[in-house]
């Protein structure tokens, strides 16, 4: 519950960023003003200002947008593609299963982050490329998870019972396999949101995510890094903290979803 409130706050902050800070600048980039560069946190600039004099608080607020979009799109794509392929593979078995799972294994055999970096670097670096690159490395996990579930569900007696009453394979897939795999998938998705945001931050830290001047947590940490030794800690600490808090919150959300999605527990309370 608490994590749900925290996530709502983060999302609201991202959506209503323009109303939460007077230092929006063009499209949330913050207003460059070299006169106020490297300002320490103050009432006017609660998170201080960066090397170009832009308000760090505003940029952290607006930086939530690419991170959240990336997390949501990557997880949704991974979930849809992975669940579809996994359910078909596990349910159909035979050569269909072989083809899908060997392809999945090929993707999984690359270290995920390296593959994502490679893909993002090959494409023109942008938020969209980062999303595509991470999605490509993401779906196989869902395929594996769902396939394992589907294989076990296929052997359940209620599937046999449904078939004895005239159900077609497609009907069984839709009415028995999918609803029963959705529980674990939902939990995985909630846990993954945080992880995807972390990988997204890693890519943009390396300059492979959204491009300047738009604000982005990963790149803010990366840009601020060179000034840390100069004592300008607020350039990296605040966006870093934003990444950390967001990932942690989504991880808590995953735990919560896990507890809530048990149909037995749901039945008790009704």
């Amino acid at each position: 519950m608490i994590s749900l409130v925290a996530i709502a706050l983060i999302v609201l902050a991202a959506v209503f960023a323009p109303w939460l800070t007077p230092h929006e600048g063009a499209g949330g980039t913050g207003t460059p003003d070299l006169a106020t560069a490297f300002g320490a946190p103050s009432l006017e600039h609660p998170f201080g200002t960066d090397d170009l004099g832009r308000d760090v608080f505003a940029r952290v607020l607006f930086g939530a947008r690419p991170s959240l979009v990336l997390g949501a799109v990557v997880v949704t794509l991974g979930m849809v593609i992975g669940t579809g392929l996994g359910a078909v593979a596990g349910f159909a078995g035979g050569w269909i299963d072989e083809i899908i799972m060997r392809f999945t294994d090929i993707i999984l055999s690359f270290p995920a982050l390296l593959l994502a970096i490679l893909l993002a670097a090959t494409l023109r670096p942008s938020l969209e490329s980062a999303i595509v690159a991470i999605s490509v490395t993401w779906w196989p996990w869902y395929t594996r998870l769902v396939r394992a579930q589907a294989v076990s569900i296929r052997e359940r007696h209620y599937v046999l019972a449904a078939r004895s009453l005239g159900a077609s394979p497609l009907w069984v897939l839709w009415h028995h396999v999918l609803p029963n795999v959705l529980g674990p998938v939902r939990v995985q998705a909630a846990l993954d949101l945080g992880a995807a945001i972390l990988v997204g931050a890693a890519l943009s830290f390396l300059g492979l995510g959204s491009q300047p001047p738009s604000p982005d947590w990963g790149r803010m940490v990366s840009d601020g890094r060179q000034y840390v030794l100069g004592g300008y800690w607020w350039l990296t600490v605040f966006p870093g903290a934003a990444i950390y808090v967001t990932a942690l919150t989504f991880s808590f959300l995953g735990d919560g979803v896990q507890k809530a999605s048990d149909p037995r527990a749901r039945g008790m309370s009704s």
Partner: protein
């Protein structure tokens, strides 16, 4: 005798395994009349369940089947799978040993029943829940409306089995295959379920193939019984005849092995030896290797059916 609803001729079933061919059914002959409950009894592994599943074509992918399974003259084994699917549920339905496992845990009773009702289009669109409640009432479940919103794990085993029966009957099949329907239930609940099946059989003219290993169930709930051994029917007749004066040495041994209450104290009789394995080739009678009366002819030639009403497949009874 009228033409039976279900007629099984020389049903053979084998599985291709890594170790070779394993034979599950070695030529089953069986007939079930409309409105009659036929018990199919035998030890574990003799092919009871596989006989039932063969009728609906619900066999593992490595199964190879031959012979004929005639439903009202239609050979189910020869039907393409799409046609067979139309028959499943609408003409032949099946219930299983463990009702808890046969219901999907994530859907309510109402959702599952309506899905079947909608699939077979046995109610007006939008009226599926009314039909579902009606079916639940027919299987003697009280307060059907409330039950529709319940999930399977909130019901007792007996109630779950009643829900399964309601689901199986939703499209008014003519034949119900009940695979050990009471084995996982309490004894008192067993009797109630058997009584319910009997009531439905009479009211709906339902033919029932009751698969069980329990002689008391056979005595209580069937009119005819077929005794299966190592994938062959060895004796078939009216229940009171077969249980009262068994003819086949296997049936005699099986009944002698039942413990009795009261009377003389005597050690339980076990049948010496064990059921032939699936990979053993059998020339003659399937029971010859364990039979106390086995003759030379039994080992070399399969026995023919003898007796019209009370049939037995045994060389002791020449036709």
């Amino acid at each position: 005798m009228s033409v039976p609803l279900l007629e099984i001729n020389d049903l053979q079933l084998s599985f291709a395994t890594a170790l070779g061919i394993s034979r599950a059914l070695r030529g089953v002959d069986l007939a079930v009349q409309r409105g009659v409950s036929v018990g199919l009894v035998g030890e574990s592994g003799c092919g009871k369940t596989m006989t039932g599943r063969s009728v609906l074509g619900l066999l593992p992918p490595n199964a190879r089947v031959s012979g004929r399974v005639l439903l009202d003259g239609i050979d189910l084994l020869a039907l393409p799978v799409e046609r067979l699917r139309e028959i499943r549920g609408s003409r032949v339905a099946m219930i299983f040993q463990d009702p808890a496992a046969a219901l999907n845990p994530v859907f309510s009773v109402g959702e599952q029943l309506s899905a079947v009702i909608r699939h077979h289009r046995v109610s007006l669109p939008g009226r599926e829940l009314d039909k579902a409640a009606q079916l639940l009432a027919e299987v003697r479940l009280s307060d059907p409306e409330r039950l529709l919103t319940r999930y399977p794990h909130q019901l007792s085993g007996g109630m779950q089995q009643r829900v399964m029966i309601a689901m199986a009957l939703s499209a008014s099949p003519e034949l119900l295959i009940a695979d050990e329907p009471t084995t996982s239930l309490d004894v008192t609940v067993q009797a109630q379920i058997l009584d319910l099946l009997d009531e439905l059989r009479r009211r709906r003219e339902l033919a029932v193939l009751l698969i069980t290993h329990n002689m008391d169930v056979v005595r209580r709930a069937t009119q005819e019984v077929a005794v299966l051994y190592a994938g062959r029917v060895v004796e078939h007749g009216a229940t009171h005849e077969v249980l009262g004066s068994p003819r086949h040495p296997y049936t005699q041994a099986l009944l002698a092995a039942l413990p009795r209450l009261g009377g003389r104290r005597q050690p339980l009789q076990a049948i010496a030896g064990s059921v032939p394995r699936g990979d053993e080739a059998i020339q003659g009678c399937v029971f010859a290797s364990r039979c106390a009366y086995a003759m030379d002819i039994c080992r070399d030639n399969p026995p023919r059916e003898s007796g019209a009403e009370h049939s037995v497949w045994c060389w002791l009874y020449p036709s």
